[in-house]
């Protein structure tokens, strides 16, 4: 026994399916066929509705994920900005030059000496030498874990430029391990005054101070003696 089909009705329903598919394709995800009749065609209609449901879910999920990724990305970018800012801050902070005694400057170096940092460090030191007129500066590298040829090169340059301004540089805080490493690398630091600890460097600086004071006093006496004659 065959069912009776109304051709017009069926054509209408197929048109409806086409319409819905067209609107989904155009981006309207709320469009559904919502078939009323129960027959062979309604199975297809229901399946298409289900498919659209799945598609909608999938798209929503993807949108959500994309949003999450974008959020994370912007967060990371913000963090990166902060890091860069802090790096810049650190660069300034990490090269403090302070006068600790008559005629004596101290520059504690902590961390890694890259070219940029050395530049800042050198500028700070040279400015301070000119500003205070100190003739002895101590570069303490206790906080530098690795001295390779680049770091040594930077130290040498700093010492040389300080010398050009009339200040003697003492490098202190060279650990036994670093001392051996420098020798193996073949770097010649013999032109630089070096001390094992900051304390040694301070004692040396004080002695140097005293000597120059004595010389000054002596020259004062001799010049006054000469006048009397």
């Amino acid at each position: 026994m065959s069912k009776e089909y109304n051709i017009d009705k069926i054509a209408e329903r197929i048109n409806r399916i086409e319409d819905v598919l067209a609107s989904v394709a155009a981006g309207d995800l709320d469009a559904r066929i919502n078939a009323e009749a129960e027959d062979d065609l309604s199975g297809i209609e229901a399946a298409i509705d289900l498919l659209i449901d799945d598609l909608t879910d999938e798209l929503k999920q993807r949108e959500k994920m994309q949003k999450e990724v974008e959020d994370k990305l912007s967060k990371i970018q913000e963090q990166q900005k902060t890091i860069l800012q802090q790096q810049a801050d650190l660069l300034e902070l990490s090269s403090p030059v302070s006068k600790v005694w008559d005629n004596v400057l101290i520059l504690p170096v902590i961390g890694t000496l890259d070219s940029q940092r050395t530049q800042v460090m050198m500028e700070n030191l040279l400015e301070k030498i000119v500003e205070t007129g100190c003739t002895i500066s101590i570069l303490d590298i206790t906080g530098v874990p690795t001295v390779d040829t680049q770091v040594a090169n930077h130290l040498l340059k700093t010492v040389t430029s300080a010398r050009l301004l009339g200040a003697e540089c003492i490098i202190s805080g060279i650990s036994p391990a670093i001392a051996q490493t420098i020798v193996h690398l073949g770097i010649d630091l013999s032109t630089i005054k070096t001390k094992a600890t900051l304390q040694d460097a301070m004692i040396f600086a004080m002695k140097q101070n005293k000597r120059s004071e004595n010389v000054k006093l002596q020259s004062l006496f001799t010049s006054s003696d000469e006048k009397e004659e």
Partner: protein, 141 residues
């Protein structure tokens, strides 16, 4: 690459890309950490770290960056840390010259490669013009 000591039994500890100065510091710290893990003394730790620092700098300054491989393994019956630096830069024209004290093609001090060699127990280098350079250094306990 041919000509370098290698062993399939070596255990890879880590692998890194060097493309900035910050990477250098990071990898250097890691090398020190691994050296410590192998219970090397402070002097040996400093030596291998400094040697690697030289190699990484060379790689970054002249080779345009590259990769580092940190391995652990047995070399000549001794437990060793093996570090391999590979770059794809212009290569070294005259290895003998590059390995001599005081020679630099840039504005360094010229002690990088020969210095690094003196700091480690074994030093192997291979370079091909316009292909790149591989340096493998080993330090054992």
């Amino acid at each position: 690459m041919l000509g370098l000591t290698s062993d399939i039994n070596w255990e890879t500890l880590s692998k890194h890309l060097i493309d900035s100065e910050n990477n250098i510091v990071e990898v250097r710290q890691l090398v020190r950490y691994h050296a410590k893990q192998l219970s090397m003394g402070i002097i040996d730790q400093t030596r291998i770290t400094t040697a690697v620092s030289e190699l990484l700098r060379n790689m970054y300054n002249y080779g345009g960056g590259g990769e580092v491989l940190i391995e652990k393994g047995i070399v000549d019956d001794k437990i060793s840390l093996i570090i391999t630096c590979t770059d794809h830069g212009s290569g070294i024209e005259d290895l003998e010259l590059a390995m001599s004290d005081g020679y630099t093609s840039g504005n360094g001090m010229g002690y990088g490669l020969p210095g690094a060699k003196r700091l480690v127990d074994r030093f192997e280098i291979k370079s091909e013009l316009n292909m790149g350079t591989i340096v493998r250094v080993m330090k054992w306990k």
